[in-house]
Symmetry: C3
Subunit: 332 residues, 3 copies
């Protein structure tokens, strides 16, 4: 594995091997030895708490070091278009920035969110793709417009940890209200992970909030190959009932034509409460979560919520990813 | 010792042991071995120069690593109230943030200044207390509204280094003018340290600038138990005369009802000059210091000023604190 | 070598030894062993991508650690004048900041750009000089108003790598257009490096854009001693023809009296294109570069462009500098 830009361009088998390896590292049964002595350059176009801290912790814990560069969405930008006369805001082209940072680190990790303005352009993941093209080292996405693959792999790790066998288990992704429209990267990767895991996937979301068709197509293909299934519904009550995993996430209708606002009062009953948890349901969310807007206190504070374990697993999933890309680099 | 949130909830004996250990580490007679291989997560709600650099230096020098997260007071905030519907500015509750960061690090250090708007709420140290409640690892305060305990321990270290025997020596804390009202965390911890050290403490400050009564009560109790004393005066001339330690600090009358502004021309003679130093006085200040507003050049540049040694001791005091909390964690 | 504040206060022979050492480190023929276990404190008054990442990479790769402090040009400032009453924006004097940071690190690296408002004051490099005066450890300039010495040494390293023998080879520094006036630190150090390397130096720039006379005087002296030469011309076409190294850089006429704007349409033909490259010309630029404003795509993407190798060499040049200052410190 050279780059780790998303889940959809890897095979379910390769992702499963990474997830298993992450759990072995967590239990102390394996060591990500390729991290030792390596340098990871992390470039953030958007702010981060968990992603940054968990990557730094993974590098530091296993003997590597991390260089963190906060670009700041307002203060500096990289030109991604070819052939333009660069007399605007961007003082540097991504070709140079990627090539240079690739000389300073053994891998480069990049976060560049969806702009939410041009959905087609967002989905092309220009910044992350350009880094993969121009840096001479492995590139890891720390979330782009199309996916949040480190989160998606973490979700799979967490479901294996919680359920042991994931095949044939019920995974419900449920949309939730929010104060503003959010990108779709997290639900995209979560659905792909559940499909790759052979789960019976239900996506509950209001009319107009469909996920991106390209992602759904891959998820359906993976589900079919792995013994799982994909369904979509606008009825959250039925969808939540009996779920082994209830994965809650809000997203704006970023790629849809006629969606309403995410804080539409008519959608207020999409809030997830303890009443929606079955006896053995595990409640998952990528965090941060707005309490009593997205999920009610009584659900989040219930023992069936595994959101803290899920967040911890970022560390272990990323240790497995780093080990894999550094090993591939060493072999190249 | 599990957490290090303030001085007042530890015993003078335990604090003295830490101070002695810091000096042994400084002299190379002891090694804070528990730091090796450990990760400290540092979360700043307010900016920092000395605190951040000295913690990072302590971790790096003894084989650990530090993760620094600058929250920024304006860009992000954590909800601390329970049960609220989080539809405002704060995208995350401190319950989740604390629990997650505790999974990534072996200890979490937090800085959260007084808001200076609601004194009672400030003194409750909600952010730091929430981290201690929800993170599953030791929590260290890098300054909250009520105290700056790492500074206070450093001050004690510095006084032992300078005076050898502190019991019965004269410690004068003197208020000084400033361009804006500052929090009381530093003078609170300094007075507690001097009281714990058995010193004859005098607090010189204008009418209306009393320190917080809870802090004064503990200081009086410690002084009584340790052979020292606590006095307050509005006459800075008498108070400074003959001091073994002249500790200068400005603070706003944050918890007082009828204080005037800190840059009141009537208070300009509270500026500390070389004339206020006795033959053997040590001049202390936590830095940063506004020259010729708080302390005059001739005093700061005098050999009796130990402010640079005092700042260096942050490194050694914090090495001792880190070693203690990591050791306790290991034993738990 | 105690401090590394600029090129002009070192001897060409000492700088050449550093450049050779950098190449040996790059090739794995030498190890900068003095970096191991050391702490570098980096203080940025201006933002940075390459400088910060390459210094952190050099420290991390060879077993040291780096503490990065971003002062931010707007949010905080250090007073540099002596004797003033500090009742303005600056909460701390450089005397204290330098002395304290010197206690936390084994060396301090500082970046403080030209203000472009007061050219004489800029050239005095007050911040960097104050750090050298008040920190008790070696100080490295990461660019001040007068020079960017780490870049200049890197340029020399790159030219040795590319040309093997630099004496008698043709070095052309050519001014280029930009969207705003930039400081002269980079061209100053580049010209000094080329002069020290015994090259035939031509500086092509519009009328009114002369470099600082003090720098030119040193460059002429070094060129005379080393078998090289210094010429200045306003004719970029002749200057570029036959250059072994074409070094492109824009600068504002910061120290000149009657210069026009850098984006003057009459100067648009100073843009460097592939047509300006001779068969064996190496194209150099310190980056970041605005494509098609400063250098055209066809030149930057030509195999004769060595800008990425040049940027990589920052890492190796700085490893040599750090090793030298830490070794000197150890010997002191």
């Amino acid at each position: 594995m050279r780059h780790f830009l998303n889940l959809r361009e890897h095979s379910p088998a390769a992702l499963r091997a990474l997830a298993d390896r992450a759990l072995m590292i967590k239990r102390g049964e394996a060591t990500p030895g390729a991290i030792k002595g390596r340098t990871l350059v992390m470039l953030f176009f958007n702010s981060s708490l968990r992603t940054r801290a968990s990557f730094e912790a993974a590098m530091g814990r296993f003997g590597g070091s991390a260089i963190v560069l906060n670009v700041g969405s307002d203060t500096w930008s990289l030109e991604t278009r070819d052939g333009v006369r660069m007399d605007g805001d961007a003082p540097e082209h991504v070709r140079e920035a990627a090539a240079v940072l690739g000389r300073y680190g053994d891998a480069v990790a990049v976060r560049s969110f969806a702009t939410m303005r041009d959905h087609g352009a967002d989905f092309a993941d220009a910044i992350v793709r350009a880094f993969a093209a121009y840096a001479d080292v492995p590139v890891i996405s720390m979330e782009s417009a199309s996916e949040h693959p480190c989160q998606g792999l973490t979700d799979w790790v967490t479901m294996i940890e919680q359920l042991r066998e994931t095949r044939g288990r019920r995974f419900t992704l449920t949309w939730a209200p929010h104060v503003k429209p959010l990108p779709m990267a997290v639900p995209h990767s979560a659905v792909l992970a559940a499909a790759a895991a052979g789960m019976l996937v239900t996506i509950a979301r209001p009319r107009g909030y469909a996920l991106r068709p390209e992602i759904m197509a891959t998820a359906r293909q993976w589900a079919a190959a792995g013994g799982g299934s994909i369904e979509e519904t606008e009825n959250h009550t039925d969808a939540r009932r009996g779920a082994d995993v209830l994965y809650v996430k809000s997203w704006g209708a970023a790629f849809a034509d006629n969606a309403g606002p995410v804080n539409n009062p008519n959608l207020a009953d999409w809030l997830v409460t303890r009443d929606h948890l079955g006896q053995d349901t595990r409640l998952m969310h990528c965090l941060p979560v707005r309490r009593n807007v997205v999920i009610a206190d009584d659900a989040l504070d219930d023992p069936r919520s595994v959101v803290i374990d899920q967040a911890e697993n970022r560390l272990w999933a990323q240790a497995a990813i780093l080990d894999a890309v550094f090993n591939a680099e060493r072999g190249a």
